[in-house]
């Protein structure tokens, strides 16, 4: 495939640092060297199947733990994302307030400048909703009297911008004689969000730890490979190999280990998600079907493969560089 014409090699110059034919030929040789390292390292990986499979499995589990946790957080985040819009105030009216009075009260609130919208939920509506979504439908039927209060759902004006105003509004509602109980839905959303934040940070820490694990596991595997091939390394050094030349095949080994571990981790995560999907979707149905499970996206998969390969290459690089310092010919 290489059709580079050699310059007539009349000048058989003594070979030193800059030896090796013309530039294009050297470039081709360099490419061949990399291609050879790429495939021979793959070959060696295949030759020691048992060790390779063990290493890759351990790495895949570590990587899938990290990315699985990431996916879990992403899914929960999506769930809380839906809730974020529900920054409303629920007013639970006293039991003795009639439907007509409640409606009048709703009108009066609607006129307030800082209120955007008021929704009246009658006792019957509340009961119907409860029956549909709670799963206690038949139990409710057994009740003689509807125990649910009339609820006014108030959506305030620009509530996120001024918290103080929001608090004031809430306090005003609490003073109203007909209001039994005023609740801000924001509060638990906020709590959930801070919990999610914690989970995300925890996931990050976990990922860093597992990443360091990947680094060391690959490093150790490469150290063993280097040990098995030390005779070859010594001979290469004796005939003038640079450290970069010796390092190259090991870096490719590291690359393959990381890459295959990433691929295996993708399968592990995806299979786990598929197993979970059925039950999650059943749960989602109960919540209006607003939730759809997130899988690893194309970009996320690429990122996972990239990171796992990079970590493994780094692990190999550290180990080989360190060992080459120690390893002198003889």
């Amino acid at each position: 495939m290489r059709q580079i014409k050699k310059t007539p090699a009349r000048q058989e110059v003594r070979q030193t640092q800059t030896s090796g034919g013309d530039f294009v030929d050297k470039l081709h040789a360099y490419r061949d060297l990399h291609a050879h390292a790429l495939f021979s390292s793959l070959g060696r990986l295949a030759a020691s199947k048992f060790t390779s499979i063990m290493t890759i499995t351990v790495l895949a589990i570590a990587i899938s733990l990290a990315s699985g946790f990431y996916l879990l957080v992403a899914n929960l985040q999506q769930l809380t994302g839906n809730l974020e819009t529900s920054n409303r105030i629920s007013l639970f009216l006293k039991d003795n307030v009639s439907a007509a009075k409640a409606s009048k009260f709703a009108d009066s609130i609607r006129k307030k400048a800082d209120v955007q919208e008021v929704k009246l939920i009658t006792k019957d509506q509340a009961l119907k909703e409860f029956q549909t979504y709670s799963g206690f439908g038949s139990a409710i039927n057994a009740l003689e009297k509807n125990p649910l209060p009339i609820v006014l759902e108030v959506i305030p004006q620009n509530i996120l911008e001024d918290r103080q105003e929001f608090e004031n509004l809430l306090e005003n509602f609490r003073q109203e004689p007909d209001v039994d109980f005023a609740q801000m839905d924001m509060q638990w959303v906020k709590r959930l969000q801070s919990f999610m934040d914690m989970a995300r940070r925890g996931g990050m820490l976990l990922s860093v730890l597992l990443g360091v694990g990947v680094l060391f596991i690959t490093g150790n595997t490469i150290r063993l490979e280097l040990y098995n091939r030390r005779e070859e390394v010594v001979i290469a050094k004796l005939v003038g190999a640079t450290n970069a030349f010796i390092r190259r095949p090991f870096l490719y080994s590291g690359f393959w280990i990381g890459f295959f571990s990433g691929v295996a981790a993708w399968f592990i995560v995806t299979i786990m998600m598929l197993i979970l999907r059925q039950s999650v979707e059943k749960l989602s149905e109960l919540y209006d079907g607003a939730f759809h499970m997130l899988f690893l996206s194309f970009t996320e998969t690429l990122a996972m493969l990239f990171i796992s390969s990079l970590l493994s290459i780094s692990g190999s690089w550290i180990v080989v560089s360190f060992q080459l310092q120690q390893l002198k010919p003889e």
Binding site: R2, I4, K6, E12, R14, Q15, T16, Q17, S19, G20, G21, D25, K26, H28, A29, Y30, D32, L33, E231, E232, V234, I235, A236, K237, L238, V239, G240, A241, T242, N243, F245, K328, P329, E330
Partner: protein, 218 residues
Amino acid sequence: MLKFENVSKYYPDAGDVLLNVSFYLKHGEMAFVTGHSGAGKSTLLKLIAIIERCSRGQIWLDGQNLNQAKERQIPFLRRKVGLIFQDYKLLQDRTVFDNIALPLVIAGYGHPEIARRVRASLDKVGLLGKEKKYPPSLSGGEQQRVGIARAVVNKPPMILADEPTGNLDPELSAEIMLLFEQFQQVGVTVLIASHDILLVTKMNRRVLKLDHGQLVAS
């Protein structure tokens, strides 16, 4: 080509293995290093290949002071020296071709050039046609020829051989020596460490005699 100036090598557990060794090898000269075992022959060769560094003194190889060579320059300096070992140091799981090609692959030659040079090198040592064989299937003499082919394939200005005939019978040894003479005739500087006095005398070349680390005759 090679200059030793008051070179000493000290090992903490063995003391002075080389002491105040000075000599000079001209371009294209062929010489032997002799002495009893432990006299410092191998150490002397190791210093030239920068496998070890000297404790005192100066060594010049091809105009370069080896004491000043930085770690990253060592590979390139080693490419100026073809090394030949008593135990051949061949890769058992690679073909003869691949073994000989190694220095060229390391130096970054393209494949057509590598193939051409390996064949030329095999031709010189009389092993043409054996490039697809593996070292274990070759005789000792043939393996040493592969080792020599590998040492000269990159056309180094100097060849260093450490007991190259140590594992061979006299007849094969003589053949190997003949090969070294041929290289010397085309301008390569050759330095051979050997304790085989008979063989060395027969060659009738310059002899550097070491005794307990000191150069007693050159």
